[in-house]
Assembly symmetry: C2
Homo-oligomer: 227 residues x 2
């Protein structure tokens, strides 16, 4: 836990436009950075909402715990995504958990500061509203996208998701386990593996442990679209 050097902090450049230099400096001087290792909990379902968090670097998963010890992954977040989403401004406790799936750094700002700034500054508040809505929008539409696909379509979809939105490369090291893919797309681990194996046998992807190379993008896209 350490204060960040904000002189080149991206918050300044891209967080919001409608905020004064003074306010930015005030926030920057009081915000705190925290580092997390792969697998660390960043926050737990039920935790009191104290800070507003965004991800400075790394990759994390947002998920909820179920009765029977199973987890449902809501979304993945990448650098500069907000981690405080859903009803963080109206609720008292987090309704979901966050875990780092790669070494990550979060930027923590006292919720009270955001709240105060928002109350004083309509434009800032409206920016916040827009960004928060966009995030929920993405999560909802994405879950509908996944839901309308069958097993192979879902696995194809998530591979393309990592290719296009996280790594921008046809070859990448899958940051999550097969089990986590399953928890995200709502299928079992075994069947995720079976789908991957089939893609491999059909020469659509190559698998080297965690590393996936998509060799036939067109066909993978077709499977994602039409099952």
């Amino acid at each position: 836990m350490e204060k960040c050097n904000c002189s080149n902090c991206e918050l300044k450049a891209m967080f919001f436009e409608n905020i004064s230099k003074d306010d930015i400096n005030s926030i920057c001087s009081r915000k705190i950075e925290k580092s997390f290792d792969k697998g660390d909990y960043i926050l737990s379902q039920g935790d009191e909402i104290m800070d507003f968090l965004y991800l400075k670097s790394g990759l994390v998963k947002l998920f909820i715990h179920n009765e029977n010890d199973k987890e449902q992954i809501i979304a993945f977040a990448k650098p500069f995504d907000f981690l405080s989403i859903l009803s963080v401004f109206s609720g008292k406790y987090y309704s979901y958990s966050i875990k780092a799936i790669e070494k990550s750094v979060t930027c923590n700002i006292k919720m009270e500061e955001i709240r105060k700034l928002a109350a004083e500054n309509g434009a800032f508040s409206f920016d916040l509203l827009q960004r928060m809505s966009l995030i929920s929008d993405k999560i909802i539409l994405e879950s509908l996208e996944i839901r309308k696909r069958n097993l192979k379509g879902r696995v194809a979809y998530i591979l393309l998701f990592f290719k296009n939105h996280i790594y921008q490369a046809a070859e990448f090291e899958l940051p999550i386990s097969r089990k986590e893919i399953a928890e995200y797309i709502g299928m079992t681990t075994e069947n995720v593996i079976r789908a991957l194996t089939e893609f491999r046998k059909d020469n659509i992807i190559k698998i080297y442990g965690k590393v996936i190379e998509i060799t036939d993008i067109k066909r993978l896209e077709s499977i994602s679209k039409h099952g």
Copy 2:
């Protein structure tokens, strides 16, 4: 299409707290009400976002169209729920459609007015943020709830949803078709019917056409929880 008499409009009482009398009156004097019959489109996916809408009376469904002519229902909205959700403040076109499933009246406010008010009034803007987030929150968590259940659990869940959140009564006329239930819970119409039939045979519900009477709430709740 008509101006509403706002003297007793609920907008005044419950819309937001942090808004001045002048502003409320200004909005009220310019807002427009529209009436829709059962089955009418209130707006269509792709429509330009011009107004901010909330539901004054009736019941509607929010849904998206898919390639193959199928619909996925995102949520139902009841009186005083916002109909303009997701990225209505940042996007230019609606990403979903809304249809009245009962005779409904919407209240339409120029988006520009909301935007202006929000920019000027941080507290109002923050209220808006809170309410918008709460809605998305509900949609996301509800979809996770549904997703973790099997067919019978899902049907039980939606029956209890109508009982608890829409009608507050164990007997009610289902406002939606079996097909729409299917589109909401992500199963086929036939299987929704089979689940209902089975509930009827097990003396958990009674069915009189569209009218459902839940006679064994405990058992229905148990099915909703444990499949």
